[in-house]
Symmetry: C2
Subunit: 332 residues, 2 copies
């Protein structure tokens, strides 16, 4: 194979150029059915990246924000971070004999999740603070990494990081190939997501926005640490999403993706920044391959008023059933 | 010129490769005198970018954080943001007749800045809230852009964005050329910096960390806005800097640059994350070309204990007088 031995920097560059050209012809969204959702995405991207288009947006301003729970990965039978918290309660129980007689822990330890969560937001806050605070940021990162590497989804029997939507992974990659900067903007805990978002979504920690608890700088044995305090810092949900976007990103997205009432203001904020803009909502209408829920669901509520706003404002509703050829990478 | 017409993609690629090789030979830090500070920078960068080195750091983890006031731009005779606030008070005075009899505004309007600031942090907070809150984020951005485009430094008679240190601009570019991601981590207001940091430093809004006031999402005439509230959200100074870094970046820097006691914890936090790490402090010791201050200065305090910590921990102190050939781009 003489030609191979003759390969030099110039030939390699030529091959690279050809590969890019060929790549452009392949379908970048193979898990999406040809339909209005896919067409909307492709034509939006073409419009904002075409230098000759009046709708051209410079690469620096191509900010795309994604909700996480229910948009990038599954959120049923309950938010995965809550499952993580419940697992932590069981693990920490031996160090907390008082939990045996104290709600919501007592019910949880008896295996009665429903009774434990009957206390509503207050009960959830108690569980989160007991399991997410009181250690350093490094210790928490280690705990998350261990859980995410071993825990499995109750229905799919797969690690939670495999319960991510293949069409959305393709969309993230497609946008980045078109020089978008992709961000997560989630109601979930920022430090619960960061340990794995780069590996799973290609989104680095500095592009993850989420809810947070306060931290405090301290010297421990001559080493600086940040201690996680049992005090809410910021809730990155609903009206909090535009606030979080402004705080962390400092410019307004030109594309935003969500799936529930919690994402409404993020989409409004995106749309309000000018034109053209892309606003999309994932609708969970596929009970067979994933879950079907929406208007009456407590988790991932997709209310009738959100649907009405989407219609009125021209937001695209993605039907998981009709728009997605494949939901998970491991399917079939 | 027949060869020009024959230029194809391959030749262009070859030229690009050659240009990069030639570029590597030029001095990337021409405004730095050859000395220990420059040597420390160059050898650190060589070490962490050399794939064969045991100290190699993958590009994703090459996070470098820079204080702004006194590190990237001048901070005398007082923080530029405070000058901005004072200018705003004068501009807003007609709408606030009550300020004539109310401190710190009354003294300010009489031109007695010293008396106005005698009230300390409380007086400064009053001035900041009166001038930085009560409008939307877009309105504030516009105000900052107008001021920064027109206001001039009292000593240098130049726009404030020209009072930036040429050696630090070169350092920022040099680090980015070596695939570092550069961030600002400043006690200054995050929304005071973002409107101009990309143009001046090449640092986009999403890589600016700073102090902030709270904002609130609202619909005004059917348009979404974020209203700036007269309430402190976060102070990104001293122990707040590692907290801000953790919140916005989510990983620890491998290089950090400051100039005062406010940067101490950022440098400790950087050093504590492993090895090799680069910690540097700009020392203002050039009264002739800029300003000389430090241990006893109220602005940009460089205390004896900071100097002692720098020596003990191997942080590099940059002497503006000895290490910088040129301070401002417009010099000489």
């Amino acid at each position: 194979m003489k030609t191979h031995r003759l390969l030099n920097a110039t030939s390699i560059a030529t091959i690279a150029v050809i590969s890019i050209a060929v790549g452009a012809l392949a379908d970048p969204l193979p898990s999406w059915n040809d339909g209005p959702a896919k067409q909307t995405i492709v034509s939006f991207v073409a419009k904002v990246t075409n230098g000759g288009s009046p709708d051209f947006v410079p690469p620096d301003e191509r900010i795309a924000t994604f909700d996480n729970d229910g948009t990038l990965w599954c959120e049923q039978p309950m938010y995965f971070q809550l499952i993580f918290a419940l697992d932590r309660v069981k693990e920490l129980a031996p160090q907390h004999p008082e939990w045996k007689d104290k709600e919501p822990f007592a019910s949880l330890l008896k295996g009665d999740v429903k009774a434990a969560l009957a206390g509503g937001d207050h009960a959830i806050a108690e569980i989160v603070m007991a399991t997410h605070a009181g250690m350093t940021t490094e210790e928490f990162e280690k705990i998350v990494k261990e859980w995410i590497a071993t825990a499995k989804h109750p229905k799919f029997k797969r690690p939670y990081t495999e319960c991510v939507y293949q069409p959305m992974l393709e969309l993230l990659a497609y946008l980045r190939a078109n020089r978008f900067k992709t961000f997560i903007v989630s109601g979930g805990g920022i430090e619960f997501m960061r340990p794995w978002t780069e590996r799973v979504y290609g989104i680095p920690p500095e592009q993850v926005v989420g809810s947070s608890i306060k931290t405090k700088y301290e010297m421990r044995d001559g080493k600086p640490v940040l201690v996680r305090l049992p005090e809410i810092d910021f809730i990155d949900d609903k009206t909090g999403k535009p606030v979080g976007i402004n705080s962390h990103i400092g410019r307004r997205p030109i594309a935003a993706f969500g799936n529930s009432d919690g994402d409404r203001q993020m989409l409004e904020w995106t749309q309000g920044s000018g034109s053209p803009r892309l606003m999309m909502l994932v609708h969970h209408d596929d009970a067979e391959r994933e879950f079907a829920y929406g208007a009456d669901s407590k988790i991932g509520t997709f209310s009738d008023s959100l649907m009405a706003e989407a219609k009125k404002d021209g937001w695209t509703v993605i039907s998981m059933k009709n728009d997605w050829k494949q939901i998970f990478a491991w399917e079939k």
